[in-house]
Amino acid sequence: MLIVPWSLQVTSRAVFEPGADDGDEVYKVGTAFPLLQALQRVNKRLLEENPDESLLFDVVLITTNTQQQQRSSSIISSTRHYGLDVSRFCFSSEEDFVESLLKNNVQLFLSADRNEASQASQKGVLSALLDQHSASCPPEQLKVLFSGDAIIRPDTDPTPASRQGAQTFLAQLGEMRRRFGAFDSPLSIVLVTVTGGRESCGAALRTLRSHGVSVDEAYCLAGAPRAPILSLLRPHFLLSDGLGGLEE
């Protein structure tokens, strides 16, 4: 398996607050900001372990918002201002953005917009939704949250393209996690099973393991309220779509 830099695309609307005042060169930070900081921290630690490391997070910022596109220099200078490591900026129209995702060979697409995430997912691009909780996530440790229920009993049948995308993603995420020890890792893989009980959670743990991902934290709710747990976990993003049907 060839390990390549791991392309991750984030919408600029998620990184920066829309509608900055005219004349302001720098945007205010948005929902995905702590996520980018956490991603950077993982890259930094990966390079500390191995200066020749090639399996790193590669962040691409995509803007479909015409207003923001007109102020593209502000976006670019804002990223510089906050010290964000963005490798590429991509400006595209709302109709074509999925095409540009595919063209850019994106492995994971993150957006705060449910429609956008859903559109990308339907075309086979692994997507995750950022929510308002992402804004308060700690930047020290990147927390990737998997839904155990989606892994075991998917809501929709995955397309072959999205299944392939999911498997590649998992393999690479697992590989990246293995660069660090059991504790003090800048990356934590979390599994939450909301509906199912211990069998479901156990099965999800084994399924992820078979795809190369060693889960760090597991929470099985079996119908208990999820909000208190999620507010303690504070994951950066939750992967539930696109992982369906991993269990062969």
Partner: protein, 361 residues
């Protein structure tokens, strides 16, 4: 101290919670194995147990301490198909399951049951062995929390815990400070044959069910002052202690059996085992329980005699006491004991003030 469960039903009930609950209910009801469905947390008596109290992990713990976490996790993964042996809380958990079975017979639609949650800071990879072990003994534990190294205490409230049992006294102290009933469990030195039809829970009085206000008087002013004080304030209820709410939760479940004429056959029995004497200081304790609307099945006043032999006769599935001196005595004679690190008793050992070491930074 914390209430049994949050009181505001209407306000707290939101659509998301109800949807999740309905989905879980449907999931369990459709399972071919007909496993009993876990109860709705809001109505259940939630008992959180750590991995080391549920299972005997003494050898594995030693490996962790001597060779570090990586070797420990690797060992657990390597042996994950070998079920762990039962730990100190295992008989207690089995007894809870039996009570649930009886409750389900009498009240098939009720959510007022015991809910057992595994609360551990173990890594999820170790969790696979824990899940396999739970499967091996067919324990009804459907909810768990494996925090991969972080303290699980924060999650106790999120899972609406009524009682937390752990081997780690620091976590237990933290939980008590958060208002959650908690105790550090100890394996007895000898094995005792316990009832498999009746859950038996024994409590010390002062600084466990009640506050440590009276114990302070004994330690600082002696027994005579204590007796005088208790007689004078016989009719003034004592303040509550960390385990009061747990006794209350047990009482609520007991009343469900009484309502169905099962008092003689009730699968829960509670005991008060106190060093107080019936003649001089016992009345205040009984009157306090009465003022709280709580019943205790047997009140045993030892007037200072050792608790070990009496507990040997009772054979509780768990015995709560705030003083290590009593815990050690009980342990020696085969009683499963749980230390409640609360109150003035922590500063003394066998009546003498312990020199406090400088606090760790």
């Amino acid at each position: 101290m914390s209430e049994i469960k949050p009181n505001d039903t209407a306000a707290a009930e939101d659509n998301g919670e109800e949807t999740d609950w309905a989905a879980a209910k449907a999931f369990f009801d459709n399972l071919k194995t007909h496993k009993p469905r876990p109860p709705k947390p809001r109505f259940a008596v939630t008992i959180a147990v750590s991995s080391r109290t549920l299972f005997n992990m003494v050898a594995e713990r030693k490996l962790y301490e001597e060779e570090g976490v990586e070797k420990y996790v690797a060992y657990q993964v390597e042996h994950e198909n070998e079920p762990l042996k039962p730990g100190a809380a295992f008989p207690f958990v089995k007894a809870l399951m039996n009570v649930n079975a009886r409750l389900r017979e009498l009240y098939p639609d009720s959510e007022e049951l015991f809910d057992i949650v595994l609360m551990t800071n173990n890594h999820a990879q170790v969790g696979v062995r824990l899940i396999n072990s739970i499967n091996h003994y067919d324990l009804t534990i459907e909810r768990f929390c494996m925090t991969g190294g972080k303290s699980p205490v924060g999650y106790l409230k999120a899972y609406m815990t009524n009682l937390y049992l752990s081997k780690d006294s620091e976590k237990v102290t933290e939980a008590i400070e958060e208002g959650i009933a908690a105790a550090t469990m100890f394996m007895p030195d000898t094995e005792t044959q316990l009832s498999d039809t009746q859950l038996r829970v024994a409590f010390d009085g002062d600084a466990v069910l009640f506050s440590d206000e009276s114990e302070i008087i004994v330690k600082q002013h002696g027994l005579d002052t204590f007796f005088e004080h208790e007689k004078e304030f016989e009719n003034k209820p004592l303040a509550q202690g960390p385990l009061k709410c747990f006794l209350e939760a047990l009482g609520k479940l007991q009343r469900k059996f009484y309502a169905k004429n099962e008092r003689m056959n009730c699968p829960i029995r509670t005991y008060l085992v106190t060093a107080r004497s019936a003649a001089s200081s016992g009345a205040r304790v009984l009157k306090t329980l009465r003022s709280w609307g709580l019943e205790i099945d047997e009140a045993l006043f030892l007037a200072g005699a050792p608790k070990g032999p009496l507990l040997q006769k009772i054979r509780p599935h768990i015995f709560f006491d705030d003083q290590m001196f009593h815990i050690e005595g009980a342990k020696e004679l085969g009683t499963i004991s749980a230390h409640v690190p609360y109150g003035i008793g922590q500063k003394y050992h066998k009546g003498k003030l312990i020199e406090q070491p400088a606090k760790k930074e």
